[in-house]
Subunit: 220 residues, 4 copies
């Protein structure tokens, strides 16, 4: 996680705000109001659709077949697995597939996803990865930390969510992504370019915090 | 303004929220706190940079040389004229070019601009136009209405801004855009597709309201 | 195959040139020089890499999750299956993976693939499909016709290739694509737009003929 | 012209084939059949339309306002000036605007232009510049060399064309482009990436040779 570690250190304020957001704290404690979580989950479904488009853009942008296959894994993970998991999880709280698919996108959802897509389209594969990294690796870090704090205990209504991101499957995916990010950087990253990559990473981290805050704000 | 009039009628709630927003009302009255306007103006500068990219995308997406030239007018208007006008206007209130160019983009600025860019990139020229229309034509409508209400009177601190958008130059540009939008629609718009075009128009109008609100929120 | 049938009829000269090209005739007879086929096969491998990018672009361009999944099937078919089949087939004639992957792209390969990618990027999903259709559906038609003529007889060195495209798997894929193409057209095709769609289809068909000709020209 | 000089040296075979192509030699001598030149000129008109799209893509891809303005110059040069010059020049040989605009694109025209557009869209600004460089700087070099050989003498039917590219206006534009290319490279070019940039430059140079050859082949 070399490039990632450097970015995380340089974007420490944004990173801490995002990964230790009040939404995350309450989710770990189990005190997060259900309406906040449900609002988050529906928006996260809409978010994932755009994220699948961003991974597909990665296939289009890849300079080698091996990079194409790496990006394809991300598209498959979302379209073949994650979307249905969200529908299932939402179903437990009485929300139907229609309700979820027809929910309007909130501004923070649009801001984050369209920012990633545009960063990727206007730049190269490294720019796309820098904009994707906070979400992919940050969720792994959050899952891990919450589990370390025992947040995945029985009785926590959000246990399943925590286990998902703390689980080996997701942790592997995040590690794989971090290595791939490093390999790309070894090919194309210069020091002159680093500030621009950092800026993408900072913005994406900030947009993650806004996304959590949107969840908190759903509380009546 | 045929397609535009239809969209405006069908997106009436979003359109009214946007064009008659509290920010606009206070701007017309001259009661808008200066800090709100300044915040808006700096963000609008950053917005215009992205909008120039969206017009350039229009050149790339144009199916004919005549469409390319129409899009090019938009790029030129921003890069050759409007950006400098913003710098000049900001200068009157003591803001330097550096201050403006280095200001961080607010979330509503990112949400709106990246939404337009992605709508245009993923769709065709009509999709791009539908996402651009609320800004281009809405500002003309606002300028006109405020002037009709006498808001461009001497003594209104925002007189220059109002005159800019009420002026013949801008009104012509907006009319030209509306005709071009109609011509494209005559070529490619079907009734089955209309709901998607309307949705782009509604979202862009909503993102305009969020942009005004960002200005209002800058009040301490 | 409604839209496809109309396009095929209107682009009859280009369609006949492509699907009944001398290369195809000799391939059916088994008289095609091996060096022609090998040259074709290596270029087709390079072609498929770009075609996978085009399908990925389809995921990015899709207006619905269902369209995204349809496009994803195309990416998977190439990256998970077809590329390896080509390597295997090439291996039979003594070509190594390295040789294939490092072969320079011929001009007809570049012309065809980049044309499809640009048609898709600058237009919408229907434009992309119109540029993809001649390849996807044409190969099914060729496979079928050759088999009907008994070209897949034992002893024809190109039997395996013919069986691949005449087989149920590929025929289904082509039928599925044609239906999807029709569904998109029902949503977004107007008569005013039809000539542009036809032009994409004609150009792609012409580029297919150039691709066969490149194979024939490889004969010493 | 630092990066450009390095690329030119490393792609010497492709560069020499392109800039000293038989078409260029005959054009300098004045012995080039008129039908070859006319065919070239019409295709070059269609080429320029796509090149304007590529420059517009440069505006979209630019990481700074200053880069955006540099790209914009290219769009303006083509849409505001060069296209009309081509129409005028063609007019001298009895070709009408309609004839030119409705001419079908030849395969080498499609191969070259779509390659540049796709290289730019899938990569970053440097990739786009590397694909544009052979055309922009190569024409300046050809114009200069031919003039040095006295090819712009009265009586050479192609004198006007030679003067155009040997003239200060075009020479300045090419020098400006080369500096801009260098500035971008200073920001983002690594040694690991260099082979990919070289490959884009080589391919574009090869596609330039194919373009001249298309002109020569027009001879009956």
């Amino acid at each position: 996680m070399k490039l990632f570690e450097r970015l995380k250190a340089d974007a420490a304020p944004q990173w801490v705000n995002y990964t230790q957001h009040e939404f995350v704290r309450q989710l770990g404690e189990g005190s997060l109001p259900l309406e906040c979580f449900k609002h988050y989950l529906v928006q996260d479904y809409l978010f994932l659709i755009q994220f699948a488009r961003a991974y597909a853009l990665g296939v289009y942008k890849s300079p080698s077949v091996s990079d194409m296959r790496q990006s394809l894994e991300g598209v498959k993970a979302i379209l073949d697995i994650e979307l249905d998991l969200h529908i299932e999880l939402c179903g437990k709280w009485g929300m139907s597939r229609e309700e979820i698919e027809n929910a309007p996108e909130d501004t923070p959802t649009m801001a984050y996803t369209r920012f990633v897509l545009d960063a990727g389209m206007s730049g190269d594969l490294l720019d796309l990865q820098a904009a994707l990294a906070p979400c992919i690796i940050g969720y792994a870090e959050i899952g891990s930390r919450l589990t370390g704090q025992g947040a995945d205990r029985e009785g926590n209504a959000y246990r399943r969510w925590i286990q998902e991101y703390a689980g080996e499957g997701y942790q592997d995916l995040a590690r794989g992504f971090a290595s791939w990010f490093d390999e790309t950087a070894e090919q194309v990253l210069t020091e002159s370019r680093y500030p621009r990559v950092l800026s993408l990473f900072e913005k994406a981290s900030r947009l993650e915090s806004d996304f959590w805050q949107m969840g908190l704000n759903a509380q009546r």
